[in-house]
Amino acid sequence: MARPRGRIGWLLLYLALQPVIIVLCILARQIGPPLPPAVYELSGVELQDATGQFRSVDLPDFRPVSEDATSSAIYRVSLERPTTQKDVAWSIFVPRFTTGVQFEVNGSMIHDTHRNVMSRRPDRNTSAIATIPESLLHEGRNELIIHLVTWGPVGGYLDSVYAGPDKVLRPVHDQRSIMFETLPLILVAGQATLGAILGLIWINRRNDRSCGLLALAMLIGFFQYFVSMPASPQTLGLVGAAVVTQAPLVLHFIVRFIDMPPPRWLHLTFVPGIIIAFAGLSGQHDLLHAIFLPLGPPTIALCAAVACVLLGNAALRGNRKALIMAPVFSVMLGCALNDILTVSRLIPGERIFIGWFGYSIVLIVIGVWLTWRFVQALNDADSFADRLVKQVSEAEVKLRASFSREEERARAAALASERTRLMRDLHDGLGGQLVSIVALAEQPRDTTNTIGDAARAALRDLRLVINAMEEIDGDLMLALGSWRERISGQLRAHDMQLVWSVQSSHGLPVYPGLRPRHVIQVIRLLDEAVTNATKHSGASIVTIMIETIPGPDGDARGQISVRDNGCGFAVDAVNGAGTVQGRGLLNMKKRAALCDVTLSVTSAPLGTTVSLLLPADFPEAAQGG
């Protein structure tokens, strides 16, 4: 149990760290931007009241939020250039004001910040500087009138006023310009670039919504940055809506980023932005004013609060992304809190707004992080693909090796089986006949003719075995063609006539299962039938009938018959008996059965017919025996 408690303890400590970050942000802001030497600060500033009288006022001075589109306050102060600095150019410098200032020296207007479109926003921390034309500057007291023009939702504010040598005041102004004009511009440009990158990522990966949300927030922020003020209520409404809408966008982003399913009610946070936009479109300044203030800032605050709760909750559950996101969000919150405290004058110091800064930097940091993560993912995918390609090629090499091994084995097996078959075929035919020739040759009586017959039979069989090896694509007729040549010589030698009768132009059906071993068996059966006819029948004519007849199943079956016109024999008498003929017939039937061939023998005094009814197709597994 110690471990979880310890872990929760750490998480609580981590959450407690967040307020510390916020406070640190606010304190950091108290390190003020550069100011000119205090000796050049003008004192005795007076403010014109409603009656037109000037009364002494302490700077910084705060004016209330204007009721109208713009309102202005007039300050008066006198300045005197010491005679020692007669030839030195003097300037007037106001480090901080809200929202616009005009400088009037001895009744002549010398500067109006309103003319600079980029600094007309109440949320910019711009300073103002103006060199006093030499012709306007008298010796002794000079009157400086400052018009403070206020617009927007923030009240008027005038910090201290400086008058002094231009070479002292201008560097300060330039430093502030870098901090409060150039830097924000760089940030907003970076924001736009990252926004575009994330947007492109989202367009190509629609399910990566966090990228899309952040891109949208960034791009909205970028565009609204360049809207100048004061502006028409329509524009103001859109800018207000844009500013407010970024809060729910970032909130949605955070929710998606920490892999939380966004609750439906979360979409309601977009409603205030839409209302503000419509209020602006109405064109009535008062309405916009009345709607923006109670809707806009509270929405942002609400979104921030929800984000805090969700992040804290997720961080407590150990969500890694929330753990990283929380301090980042705290920085943003700290900066925003600083602005609120500054506007409400709860903390001292210049009215420097850093909320926008914090927001922009945080967005960029997150954007960079997301892009980084995306690139990492691409790298991972690349290396994964590389690994995969490597594995596949390795597997391919292995597979090829094993395939060639397998092929080699198959080839060897095929060769072996072919050798076995050939051996069996030669053994059955040629071998037997050669042995018979040897036996005949050793007999004392004259066996020349018998030896000749046996040798011819051996040669015939050798030709059969060789012939049968040629692929004939199931056309038994092709094998019968060669057989015809062989037996025609044989019959001629016995002065017998061969009648070759093919009953149809096709002869026999084509057998897809026909293999050399089947051919050899069928031809040997036919050979045996013909040899029997030449040896025993005393016939003068042998007829080979090749036909296709309807089989028992009604299908087309091939039939080959060997018919002689000899003396015939009693089939029943020899069937199964121990006679030579009986054994011969039995052997033929066995041989026929191996190929599914049905052998039938009919014999009458006028001749014998041996018929081979071929199967519908030859059996694959049949082994010649």
Binding site: E470, M477, L478, S482, G489, R492
Partner: protein
């Protein structure tokens, strides 16, 4: 010697065969002196010697000779005498040797164990322009017309010149039909069928005068 069909004297035959009994057996088949005048040779050099005195009407030659190959002889004879009919003497009548010989100009083959009467008949038929063909040779040729390449023989058997009728005839022979049956099926005269066979052989014959072809045959590009 150059008479094509009708002739007065006996048919001159040269038998080239290294096995004495076999050679004698074939000579016995042609023993009718009024019909045949036979010269015998046991080796390639003997054969060349015999042929030196003139080319016969018929050359019967074995392929495997002690001092060379029968193919060389076939090629020489075909180059020098278009009228000599050449038969290969073969044990098995196997396609590989017979087809190779036909490519070089042979007109068919004679089985070594052919019946004696058949030997004389074959030679006479040959002189009448009837080239012998077996079912397996016919089968071999028609298979090549179907685009089947034989990796063993590897011959570029040029069957493109064969006509559909010639291929039909080859099919008929391959399936064991008699010339008469084939003629009936195809509606042609029975007497013309043997002429078709000779024509088929002539079409398959490669031009052996082209040395390149012979070199290819020699080097085994066209395996013999």
């Amino acid at each position: 010697m150059n008479t094509q069909t009708e002739r007065a004297g006996p048919i001159s035959v040269v038998i080239v065969e290294d096995d004495g009994p076999t050679r004698q057996r074939i000579a016995d088949g042609l023993s009718d002196a009024s019909a045949f005048s036979v010269l015998q040779a046991g080796t390639l050099s003997e054969a060349r010697q015999v042929l030196g005195s003139g080319y016969p009407d018929v050359l019967l030659t074995d392929l495997q000779l002690p001092d060379g190959h029968g193919m060389d002889l076939i090629r020489d004879v075909r180059q020098h005498s278009q009228t000599t009919e050449i038969l290969v003497i073969s044990i098995l009548g196997d396609e590989e040797s017979v087809i190779s010989a036909i490519l070089l100009g042979a007109n068919g083959y004679l089985l070594k164990d052919a019946l004696l009467t058949d030997i004389a008949d074959t030679v006479r038929d040959l002189m009448r322009g009837h080239s012998p063909i077996s079912a397996s040779i016919a089968r071999f040729i028609v298979k090549r017309t179907q685009g089947v390449k034989d990796p063993v023989v590897g011959t570029d058997l040029n069957t493109a010149k064969l006509t559909a009728r010639e291929i039909d005839i080859l099919w008929g022979i391959a399936k064991g039909f008699s010339y008469a049956d084939i003629a009936d099926y195809l509606g042609i005269s029975r007497q013309t069928v043997p002429g078709y066979i000779k024509n088929i052989y002539r079409k398959l014959e490669v031009n052996t005068r082209g040395e390149a072809v012979f070199e290819a045959l020699q080097q085994g590009l066209i395996k013999l």
